[in-house]
Amino acid sequence: MRSIDVPLLASTLALCLLGALVLDSVTAHAPHVSPEMKRQALAMAVGLLLALALSRLPPSAFARASVPLYLFGVSGLLAVRFIGHISHGARRWISLGPLGEFQPSEPAKLVLLIAVATLLANGLPRVTALRTLGALLLAAVPCALILTQPDLGTAVVLAGTTMAMLIVSGASPILLVALCTSGVLAAPHFMHSYQQHRLTTYMHPELDPMGMGYNLIQARTAVGSGRIWGDGLFAGPMSQHGFVPENHTDFIFSAIGEELGLVGGVGFLLLYAILIGCVVRTALAGRTRLEVLLATGVAAMLSLHVAVNIGMVIGLVPATGLPLPFTSYGGSAVITHFAALGVVLSVYRSRVRDQDAAGEEQFCTA
């Protein structure tokens, strides 16, 4: 059992369980379990098995597979440009027939993370400007493809994850600041007007009560109305009767706030803190630069999802479509996040194995 990070898995499974309950609460209409909840449970089972399988691999295996994985991820994003179908005004999904929908931008987050970690972990410990640019170039390709889907939130996560890994690996702060500034300045030129609109309505949702502001106002109202203890699962009037659009996917935290109250909302925050804390602990204990960077990337990815998603629902950051990990409805995201945990578990396991190997060595010499 030492080879498995128990607190990490426990907090993940707790999030999955609670998330599935909330999902059922907002999607079910009768006493029956909703089809969304069933599909979500299936995705969670697949994701858990995938995570356990990946944890058996040594971290170096990810580095070796990084090039084909990266190419696979980018080709998925290219494919969605041509055969993807449009929903909610964006081309993000590929139909897999009876298996449902697949969102290539989700695994792209993970494969980019592995590719950047591999690039930065190779060679000398000092990260040169050249390698910084290389890492940014690696990130730029999927970022550009995702921005044109358009999907601002995922692109922000990709850029943020890459940036976190660059900071940890000691890239020149001046260079990073310069690149960040130019990126922020250039961003509006690549943004769709609806994205610019979203950014402005975030500042003043009441100016646009029937458009994007509607979603933000309704979500905030739902969260606030939950008060301390919430209205109870299946009992939140706004969550139950469609007053918050998308409250089974990106806005699921509004249902948590309304039905479970402050207690439930803070409970979710604490569970995410434990989960991410476990990942950071694994990163800090990493034996190689690759291990540290892989775990750092996953921690950054999860943190960005949680902070941006919850911040959006409660009106702290602009509205961008991002799922809440292990809670929002969406198979691609659930499986990708489980796979990312698999990478972290693999790092955790390799550290334990190294210790065991070291112990055996000592024993032999003795």
Partner: protein, 598 residues
């Protein structure tokens, strides 16, 4: 170990930033849910709970024997909430078979008055309409089928002017009454008793709190306040007598239509002279209040408004006519009291007095006071009026209640016209001449009275001088028939004429029926007294032939009067004794055999 310590340090810093971000989120949650929670909760509830007013059933109108003259029964209505209206309203127009414009007007009205409340688009749906609307409801937003009380008048057009009609509250009235709990689509009385007693009949709306989803569809209920039904009102009139009087008047009017080639109007008022209670009140032509109850169509309304006979106008209390000779008992009372003559005075009628002719051109010769009334001798009353003078005449007329509304419990009552020298100066800029007074003595000239005023005046003569306010409603009944209020009649005033003079006038009126101008009213069942009247009309646009208005005032039984009956037929063309006296006789006989408590 190939991981530099700086990496771990920078990672720790990033992790601390993450902790800070989670802390910010947690603080914000605390702010929203614990500090501002109550505000957001109220906002969420107003989002999701819709309070729909439930109209109260309107109180019933009952006759003296408890028969239902007006009641409410549930019917289907289509309502639209303007705030939530969505979808193609052409579907609704087609399902109801009404013009789209009508629906749009209704929604616009609702939007102006109270956009959050449902507004009625169509009332009293047929079962076919209900079925068609039900099939299209899923395609429309904010449209509901609602069961609402609808006004029913079991007696149809009978008593229509007294009952009045109901209709949707007008925009002006709504703005005035909204604070008293009225709603924009409330049904209120628009005329007659329905209007006069609306406060009692209306009741108080309840409310149903509905849980609605974001599409405005009802998903459940959350408590409700029951509506408070309106009170019933009970009238003093008996529908049997009323129905008989209506048919009797209609029969005469039908005969006159054939005879004159022109339809005309008429009225009957029957009062109890002992207390002013109304026993019957008829006006023809009439209208159908059921058209208003279900929402009158534009075409029907235009027809009512453009009809030259004005069917909406009650001839009993909203229209005034010259009283003709029925005025003579009033001026006779005034003359006796003023010592202008005595019951024993004898007059001489040559057929003419100061240029004014008696209707009997050859004259009545010597005639005493009683016979002057019985034979309706004009010359006698010319002389009496001349001697009495306009000032004293006006004083007594005002005491009888002429020239102002009687104060019956009905809206928009007319007060007629009592001419005075001051009035003539003001309106015609002319002096009052002797001839005006003489002409007034026989009820001609500019004097105008309503049949109801005449009934009150005759009641005063019949009951020994007491003027009562005529009254229709006897009692207001609460739930389960509990009596909340009863009408207690008491005289408004006493006319300043001694009872012995009134008895002399009554004797003259007995003579009218016994052997005078009104023998057509002579009954074998009981003794009637009365006075005929034939008001000569100058040919006008309305009345090109210049046909006479005919009257017959009567009371019975003559020794102890219990009923007063006034009959008016407008533009009848004959004489009061011929046209109206038989109607009065039949009505009083019917009352005597069916209604009177011996």
């Amino acid at each position: 170990m190939d991981v530099p310590w700086t990496w771990r340090m920078r990672l720790t810093v990033l992790a601390l930033i993450g902790v800070w971000a989670l802390g910010v989120c947690g603080h914000r949650l605390y702010q929203l849910q614990a500090v501002e929670g109550a505000i957001w909760q109220r906002r969420a509830r107003s989002n999701t709970i819709l309070s729909v007013p439930v109209p109260p059933p309107r109180g019933r109108i009952l006759d003296a024997r408890g028969r239902v003259l007006a009641t409410s029964q549930p019917g289907y209505s289509v309502t639209v909430t303007p705030d939530e209206a969505g979808g193609d309203m052409r579907l609704l127009a087609h399902a109801l078979r009404v013009p789209l414009l009508h629906i749009q007007h209704r929604i616009q009205r609702g939007a102006r008055l109270s956009p959050h409340d449902p507004t009625v688009v169509a009332n009293a749906l047929s079962s076919v309409q209900v079925a068609r609307v039900a099939t299209i409801l899923p395609h429309l937003r904010g449209v509901h089928l609602q069961i609402r009380p609808q006004r029913r008048y079991p007696y149809g057009t009978m008593l229509s002017h007294v009952l009045g009609y109901v209709g949707e509250i007008s925009e002006a009235a709504y703005r005035r009454l909204r604070r008293q709990g009225y709603h924009a689509d409330d049904t209120v009385g628009q005329s007659g008793l329905e209007q006069q007693y609306d406060a009692a009949l209306h009741g108080r709306s309840g409310a149903e709190n509905l849980y609605v989803d974001a599409m405005g569809r009802t998903v459940g209920t959350e408590g409700s306040i029951d509506p408070h039904p309106g009170y019933d009102i009970r009238l003093s009139l008996d529908m049997d007598l009323q129905a008989f009087a209506e048919q009797r008047l209609q029969k005469t009017l039908d005969e006159l239509t054939v005879q004159n080639g022109e339809t005309t109007a008429g009225a009957i008022v029957m009062l109890d002279p002992r207390n002013g209670r109304v026993r019957a009140m008829v006006s023809r032509p009439n209208f159908d209040p059921r058209q208003f109850a279900r929402g009158i169509r534009q075409k029907e309304y235009e027809r009512l408004m453009t009809d030259p006979l004005h069917p909406l106008l009650s001839r009993a209390y909203q229209a005034s006519y010259p009283p003709g000779s029925t005025f003579k008992p009033l001026s006779a009372s005034a003359c006796l009291q003023s010592k202008v003559c005595t019951p024993d005075s004898v007059f001489y009628c040559s057929g003419e007095y100061k240029g004014f002719h008696c209707f009997v051109r050859s004259g009545h010769g010597s005639i005493d006071f009683t016979e002057a009334i019985a034979q309706s001798c004009d010359v006698t009353f010319y002389q009496l009026a001349d001697r009495l003078g306009i000032w004293r005449m006006d004083k007594f007329c005002a005491a009888f209640g002429l020239g102002r509304p009687t104060g019956i419990d009905l809206p928009d009552e007319q007060g007629g016209l009592l001419p005075t020298p001051g009035w003539k100066k003001r309106v015609y800029h002319d002096d009052w001449y002797e001839g005006d007074t003489i002409n007034l003595g026989i009820g001609q000239g500019t004097l105008l009275v309503t049949p109801l005023q005449m009934a009150v005046a005759v009641s005063a003569i019949a009951n020994g001088g007491y003027v009562y306010r005529p009254h229709l409603v006897d009692a207001i009944l609460g739930p389960h028939g509990r009596v909340l209020w009863t009408y207690r009649a008491k005289p408004v005033r006493r006319i300043p004429v001694k009872p012995k003079w009134l008895a002399a006038v009554r004797k003259g009126m007995e003579g009218v029926v016994d052997h005078g101008t009104g023998v057509a009213a002579k009954s074998t069942l009981l003794q009637l007294a009365g006075k005929t009247g034939t008001a000569e009309a100058v040919p006008t646009v309305d009345n090109p032939q210049g046909r006479n208005h005919t009257w017959f005032d009567s009371f019975a039984p003559a020794p102890h009067p219990q009923i007063v009956c006034i009959v008016l037929v407008v533009k009848a063309g004959g004489y009061g004794g011929g046209v109206c006296a038989p109607i009065a006789k039949d009505c009083i006989e019917y009352w005597w055999t069916h209604d009177a408590k011996h």
